[in-house]
């Protein structure tokens, strides 16, 4: 029982941060039809900006430590508001009419540029934002000590998923987004400002990736190389869940998190390839993913 509960809890913790990042990738694909290879860079930039903001805040004393975490999350909003419109309007829009492969190559180029730009700005030395990691104390679970912050991430991930679903399905703006997804030309003909929806959707996607970086920054050493690992995991999630499906991203994150946890606890030699094995199986059995539909993008 203890082993099962530990596998599930570890899997949930892993799934939570993966979902926050991957759902941004799937949102961008769903709306813009862009498979964004640079998505991991937004995660990395979010982590760097949040760690820099935390460093600035905590350097002045820590009379109210929780405020540091809020500042970290707030700083990622700035990242999204600056980078989102800049990249969507300044770069991606010029390639919408081109082949999808060209767009993939453009985002790959963007990945390389942002990787070097990150190094140029923050250098190769690590940044830390460890103070928030101890904010929520420790929780004992079946005799094992867990950091409260990790459990809080599960709550944050659930909140992100629910808010995103509500925003898309229960608000007028969300329904406009859904209309654009289903038929961009018809939506435009009906007077929907497609350009604005593209900018907003891309910016939200950037924000989710950056927020994923910000919430994981307190438990890692923020340094070059973050983007690659994250984008690979995110791709695995969206392939398993189905490109463009938020529900699929949630279920796929759970599958990835629990598969990894199961491997580590019961067959550690399989850890390295378990996620990609699940992805390969999915591609072989159901290429459109769990919640994907053939020929029609869905969100």
């Amino acid at each position: 029982m203890q082993l099962v509960s530990t596998i599930v809890l570890d899997g949930l913790i892993d799934a939570s941060w993966i979902f926050i990042v991957a759902v941004g990738l799937t949102l961008i694909f769903g709306v813009l039809n862009v498979l964004n290879i640079a998505h991991g860079n937004f995660y990395a930039i979010g982590a760097y900006v949040a760690a820099s903001a935390a460093g600035w805040y905590y350097a002045g004393g820590d009379s109210f430590p929780a405020l540091g975490l809020i500042i970290m999350l707030g700083s990622t909003l700035v990242v999204a508001v600056v980078l989102g419109p800049l990249l969507e309007r300044g770069l991606l829009r010029f390639f919408y009419e081109r082949d999808e492969v060209v767009l993939v190559l453009v985002t790959y180029a963007l990945f390389l540029v942002l990787e070097d730009a990150t190094k140029l700005i923050w250098g190769v030395n690590p940044y830390y934002a460890y103070e928030p990691y101890v904010l929520f104390g420790n929780v004992s679970f079946f005799g094992l000590s867990y950091v409260g912050y990790d459990l809080m991430l599960i709550v944050v991930a659930v909140l992100v998923g629910v808010l995103l679903w509500l925003a898309l399905n229960r608000t007028t703006s969300g329904k406009l987004v859904l209309a654009v997804i289903h038929d961009r030309d018809m939506s435009s003909a009906l007077g929907i400002n497609v350009t604005r929806i593209f900018v907003v959707a891309f910016t939200i996607g950037v924000f989710l990736a950056a927020a994923g970086g910000a919430v994981t920054a307190p438990k890692i050493s923020v340094q070059p190389g973050l983007a690659v690992t994250v984008v690979l995991l995110s791709f695995a999630v969206v392939v398993i869940g189905g490109l463009g499906s938020i529900g699929g991203a949630a279920v796929a994150s759970l599958i990835v998190g629990i598969a990894r946890s199961l491997a580590i606890h019961t067959a550690p030699w399989a850890e390295l390839f378990i996620v990609y094995m699940v992805m390969a199986l999915m591609l072989a059995i159901r290429p459109q993913g769990l919640f994907g539909t053939e020929g029609l993008r869905k969100i």
């Binding site: 570890d10 190769v124 690590p126 094992l144 890692i220 070059p224 690992t229 946890s261 850890e271 390295l272």
Partner: protein, 435 residues
Amino acid sequence: MPEARMLLKSAFAALSLFTFASPVLAENQSFKLGIVTFMSGPGAESFGVPAWEAAQMLSAALNEGGQLPAPYDKAGFGGMTIELSVIDENGGTTKQVQELRNGYERDGLDAVIGYISSSNCLAAAPVAEELKKLLILYDCGTPRIFEDGSYRYVFRTTAHATMDNVALARYLAKRKIKFDDIASINPDYAYGRDNWKDFQQSAAALNPNAKSKLELWPKLGAGQYGTEISALLQANPQVIHTSLWGGDLQAFVLQAAPRNLFKNRHVVITAADHVFQPLGNRMPNNVIFGARGSNGLFAETSPTNDWLVAAYEKKHPGGFPAQSYYRMTQSILGLKLAVEKAMALNGGKKPTAEQIADALTGLEWDAPSGRIKMALGNGHQAIQSNAIGVTKWDPASKRMQVVDVERFDAECVNPPANIKAEEWIAQGFPGAKCN
């Protein structure tokens, strides 16, 4: 008159002969030294950039002359100015092989000191040998270079990684720390696999009851270790072995310490000194660690070490040099002595690669980390002493200290010549000379 002309011709010929035959003294020449190390990528912050910084600092001091204690007080390499250049080791083995060829053939490098990655070392060595150019490996850990191959122009001026794990196991035995149940978390590539194999076999050789309870293999650069930490806590071994390094080690410590992984058991780390400064007091106390030689906090007072520490502190007030600084420094100092020895035998002229190789074969010298002996691989592979200790944070100086140090002679933790490291450990360390 013809006699006079003949005399003049003869005098001119003799003068020409004298001019061309006279030694071209090396005083105004330069020695082009290429440094290959990680300037980007995951290995840059912990190892690559500090090593390059050490190379720059040392060559500047050597070029000035009289800055270092004897026998390193002569300017440059025997009067030749050291001209440094750097090649980024990031980018894969194929790129490194091409860059090395370019360095020798296009840029005219006289020697190259380089490589952190074992796979790059293994790929670069045959290239240098083929081109008959001097290559000094300064960091990579695999023992296979000189155990599986034989070279004339290739050297490694630092010990290979076997001694790190032999010393850790010997430390546990010497300090009577129980290590019947062992678990491990090592990066899933050659370095991590080799480290675990050496440690596991050394532990078994010293304690027949030692058995592995759990082996974890996160990929290099994983960054998140929550599930691995749960598995380690559940296994509850007496000793946890790890060769994680750089950002991976820092992330592991940051995530494991709040979950009490470092309490009620011993965590042993093959190389941890390079994360002390970035982690500060987040590095827990009572962690058993090494620094891949008597480097950094383990280095004993000596004229060269005192110089290195003072020079480092001048550049980084309040800091201390970690292992990569030491490995680069001892490599350059060894090369300097070899060049000067070869130069002396060459009548003061700039020596050839062959002459320097002959001078470096079997050489011994004093480095900041102690005595370096080119004792293995027919005089091409160095051995050096090692030390293991325990972390203790000093709040007053706000620096990590090392306590409960055990020192091991080079011949105690390195295999003798003509036996492979793996066989030496499996046979129970025959010929080991321990103090």
